[in-house]
């Protein structure tokens, strides 16, 4: 077990507070004025596509970048003008940045030695055991695998028991299986040491798996902040709806409002949306975007449409494509209200008639519907093939 003390011997404590922090390079704005509070001891993720300002934000917390405006505070202490080497903050770099001329032991001991601690053997040994690298202490970084180097980078930062550990896409260079392992590993370490982790990533699944709180960033600003489940279920912008998982968005017109329910018209049919789940103003005749997640939808062949219970939202369409993924089957349905409606159906009882070309009815519980303002780009945050390939 690692005991948490900060390097100044002061009480470990305090949230990370960014107030009005921004960064501009010439005429380019990397981060727009941003307010963010990361509660002490939490696992916080900054999620966004490349170039959204998440890494710049992280570097400003680390002291590697000077903010153009605003302040960074750790607890009560304003650290905005402190250079990196005087901040009780450590970073796990994207490429690990291990010192190639030092062995693993010395890499991990680096921070302790800089703070004038002479007896480092025991602490380094414990830390290497924590990341399961006790055997590799005398090897050089290049003799280790990517996953092991990554763990050295984590150990090298954690041994200093910083107030905040910053992780800059630490798993980006690892293959999928190893990444999964390391996600769980990092989560385990965070729970064990109780230090605040701020994790920057473009991988929404990684952010949702690991973090308690996720801030979705886009074009230099935080679009939405919340728990992974909250963000997933109640996105407030089309960017969040599309970037986190997949959403089917339909343009609809407000028909009437009865109690807590909003009735909408889309195509020829009617859809019901719980008023509490709509982040946009709803005036009769106004437009809203109606969203529903693919796994919330049931698919029924048109011949059996009569058996669908009353009170469910329904949409008709034709199956355009289906792909079997083992656990589920993913359908793309061509419907008048939305050209590429995605439906994920669990493979429990497969209906053999559900093949491309079949007429189907899509239906779902109205409670699973969410509403967004229609004044946004409906495709914001949709990852294109080019962007994926550019990684």
């Amino acid at each position: 077990m690692i005991t948490v003390t900060t390097k100044n011997g002061a009480e470990a404590g305090g949230d990370v507070r960014l107030s009005g922090i921004s960064k501009t390079y010439g005429s380019f704005t990397a981060v727009r004025p941003l307010d963010l509070t990361v509660p002490q001891g939490s696992f916080f993720a900054l999620l966004g596509a490349s170039g959204c300002g998440k890494t710049t934000t992280l570097r400003m917390i680390a002291g590697l970048e000077v903010p153009s405006s605003g302040t960074v505070s750790l607890g009560e202490q304003d650290v905005t003008n402190l250079p990196a080497y005087r901040r009780p903050v450590n970073t796990v770099f994207q490429s690990y940045a291990l010192f190639p001329h030092l062995d693993i032991f010395e890499n991990v001991a680096f921070g302790l030695r800089r703070r004038g601690i002479k007896q480092v053997k025991k602490q380094v040994g414990e830390m290497l055991d924590l990341v399961q690298l006790g055997e590799q202490a005398r090897k050089r970084p290049h003799q280790l695998s990517g996953g092991q180097q990554q763990r050295v980078a984590v150990a090298r930062a954690l041994i200093n028991t910083p107030r905040v550990l910053l992780l800059d896409e630490p798993l980006g260079a690892l293959d999928l299986k190893l990444r999964r392992q390391m996600q769980l590993e990092l989560k385990r370490i965070q729970t064990e040491v109780g230090i605040t982790f701020i994790h920057v990533t473009h991988d929404q699944e990684e952010a949702m798996t690991m973090a308690d709180t996720v801030a979705v960033m886009n074009a230099g600003r935080v679009e939405q902040l919340g728990s992974p489940a909250d963000l997933y279920e109640n996105p407030r912008t089309t960017f969040v709806a599309n970037f986190l998982g997949t959403s089917n968005l339909i343009e609809a017109e407000v028909d009437s409002r009865s109690g807590d329910e909003i009735v909408l018209r889309a195509g020829g049919g009617k859809l019901v949306l719980p008023g509490a789940r709509c982040s946009a103003p709803t005036t009769t005749g106004g437009k809203v975007l109606v969203g529903v997640r693919p796994e919330k939808i049931s698919l029924t062949h048109a011949d059996e449409a009569g058996g669908i219970p009353e009170g469910r939202n329904r949409i008709t369409g034709t199956i355009a494509d289906s792909s079997f993924t083992g656990v589920s089957t993913q359908y793309v349905v061509d419907s008048p209200v939305c050209p590429d409606f995605e439906v994920y159906a669990q493979n429990i009882d497969r209906d053999a008639r559900l093949v491309p070309g079949a007429e189907v009815v899509l239906h779902w519980n109205p409670a699973h519907t969410f509403g967004l303002g229609a004044d946004q780009d409906i495709d914001a945050g949709v990852e294109t093939v080019d962007e994926e390939a550019a990684r």
Partner: protein
Amino acid sequence: MTAATETPPLAPAPAPEERPPRRRGRLTPYWLLLPGILWLLVFFALPMVYQASTSVQTGSLEEGYRVTWHFATYWDAVADYWPQFLRSIAYAGAATVLCLLLGYPLAYLIAFRAGRWRNLVLVLVIAPFFTSFLIRTLAWKTILADSGPVVSALDSLHVLDVTSWLGITAGDRVLATPLAVVCGLTYNFLPFMILPLYTSLERIDGRLHEAAGDLYARPFTTFRKVTFPLSMPGVVSGTLLTFIPASGDYVNADLLGSTDTRMVGNVIQTQFLRILDYPTAAALSFVLMAGILAVVTLYIRKSGTEDLV
């Protein structure tokens, strides 16, 4: 080759016509090496053998020289000229240290701070090579001339009193003193120090500096613990590229020095071209070579940079 092992047993053996190109393919690297090997043989190995045989010959110009395995020439050469040997090592060592002290900050600036001026500064470092070695050295004769601006300035600042007291200048003269020779050596070999240093520094990942800062290293500590150790390959190759030619140099001692600053290179040159005592000259060359080799080996061992690259 792998194709043959992967072929099922019943398949026909590879056609014999395919063999010649394959064999030629295997020999290609050696053909490519041939010009280099020939070059080394003709311009390095043969002269070495010839020199070695010359060094153990006896005789005179009139009667001709014959190999008599007269190894005493070596002993005599060292006994007669050891001060010049020591002077060579001392001057070359001093010049190397000066080159390192001058070159490291410059290489550091070019690698990390020059920004868009980087290429221009690099060209400026190499620019002296556009004029001949001799002319550059002669220029120093003018620069350090008695009662020239440099000497008068140093004199009025009483720097020359100090250097005279140290024995590296004589009275109010800089020319024809050890200081002048070392200055010339330093100037002439500085680019050989800067370029390897620059290459080595430039290769260092900037994120390592950030990582060191992130791990509580102040800028100077970052330099001491990260930048300098990682630039060791450049320091080693730079010092070797400076020290080796400087210790064999005779032009600087000849043009900027006096009879009191003769280096072993001057002795060899005189023996070869004026006294025409070929055996002694050859023996001196070999002793110098062995000496440099010993110093270099020791240095590389000590600096332990073998596994840094």
